[in-house]
Symmetry: C2
Subunit: 309 residues, 2 copies
Amino acid sequence: MREHEFIDWIVAQTKLDPATVPVGPGDDCAVVRFGSSDVLVTTDQVLDGVHFRLSEHGPRAAGRKAMARNLSDVAAMAAIPTAAVATVSLPRGMDRRDVEDIYRGLRSVGDAFQCPVVGGDVGSWDGPLAISVTLLARRAGVTGGIAPILRSGAKPGNALCVTGSLGGAWRTAHHLEFTPRIAEAICLAMNYGVKAMIDLSDGLATDLGHLCRASRVGAEVLAEAVPVSPAASELTANPAAALHAALCDGEDYELLFALPSRLARKLCDAQPLPVPVTRIGRFVAGDEITLVHGDGRREGLAGGWEHTT
Amino acid sequence: MREHEFIDWIVAQTKLDPATVPVGPGDDCAVVRFGSSDVLVTTDQVLDGVHFRLSEHGPRAAGRKAMARNLSDVAAMAAIPTAAVATVSLPRGMDRRDVEDIYRGLRSVGDAFQCPVVGGDVGSWDGPLAISVTLLARRAGVTGGIAPILRSGAKPGNALCVTGSLGGAWRTAHHLEFTPRIAEAICLAMNYGVKAMIDLSDGLATDLGHLCRASRVGAEVLAEAVPVSPAASELTANPAAALHAALCDGEDYELLFALPSRLARKLCDAQPLPVPVTRIGRFVAGDEITLVHGDGRREGLAGGWEHTT
């Protein structure tokens, strides 16, 4: 079962009232109306052996990652994290100190974004450690004037940009220690007319596929423009392998976004963020996602969405 | 490690701004302010082998229970469930149909309370099935006029009442099929001046301890007044054993609440709810929780809170 197929199935089961749930399943956060306020909500889990290895990384890093992944989903909407809750399933007999370290890990990155842990549930079982976090977030901007940035707003002709550099995250501590791009996202939304955004958790090829699918557009990615991380470059003397790592490794937790071409030029000239921003391509009509090499060679990028609907 | 000790530790670590988080960890829900709206949030998980047995109960019942437990926490605040998100850790290779059944279980009881599933995350791993649900809820009453009912509002002299009957829930399908007391709780809060409330998940003895601890009061429970469920009665010919089951089994998901004595009399005379309401005792000054037998014999009820702080 592919995850997005299951999400499609869920979306097909779901009839939501847009007056109370303006954004339902399938984006980085859902949006629920409470009175005159939009409340964004997102949830994500980290599982021992999948997203971290308890024996190697320890409980604090696991807790931090659980919180940071959710903060990255809030960043993808250009919203402000407000409160978190967490459930933790503990391997039976786990030391009290380790449990406290999980909480300290959650707090370490939550506190950095003024996002307190306001509730939770802890239970012991015969299974491995799992940590599930749910975040509530609010609209950014003066009096909440910045609408959440969805995946579905990209138009043909929009530029495709990315923060930071990509690839090799699992081979370094990046996947545990990354800083969610909350402030960067808000700055982009407030000043550069961002039309659509997603955070890179599954890898550029896959996540660009999600963005294109939601926006019903295609994209061209310029291979030579993709910012390959030092971790990916150092991995191999083969530039094609390093590019592949940048496109497919995942766990970068950078922002991938669409914006008008003119504003992309202004953004890339100004480089106003603490992290570099790179224009790596553009959105086009259709459903094809194409990698364009320096010599003009074109190849389909995994994550193209036509075949999967 | 005892759960409430860990919660105490968390509460001690937490400095919350009451303007943005009026109610933090330690109650059935937290309350977070968004603009002029109160958003209630609660989270709870069900774990294979602890809260259900997948091989025996099946995926749909597990999903239903995950949602229903959280709805019961919303009931305990006399609030209205509004939206749910869920994370599911799937045993690797689980059948797609089973995964859909988990979702159908969540929906079966969520739909009954107009509480849609608006987001989630599904991941496969080498561990057992775990389902974590977070609910958002809103204030009840005309224009949200009913403030959330906390655990901390009971006063000496208040009557102690309970809905339904207690005990033996795990021996029947009750722990899987119970109906969260959402409507009952709102009716009680709107009409009978309820001062403090909790839902019975850990058993009356323990949960009354939580309520007394939060309110800093003691309580007297009249043994002969405790409504013993048919499941508990049928279990044993020994009335003392049946009473013990009613006090300690847990998973009743009934409401335990404090209200002024006069209104308790009115409530118990009127019996306005689809479920019976029974007055089982009263709150007293101090920190002792006492079970008072028909012959006047008094004994301390486990869950008294003095020893645990």
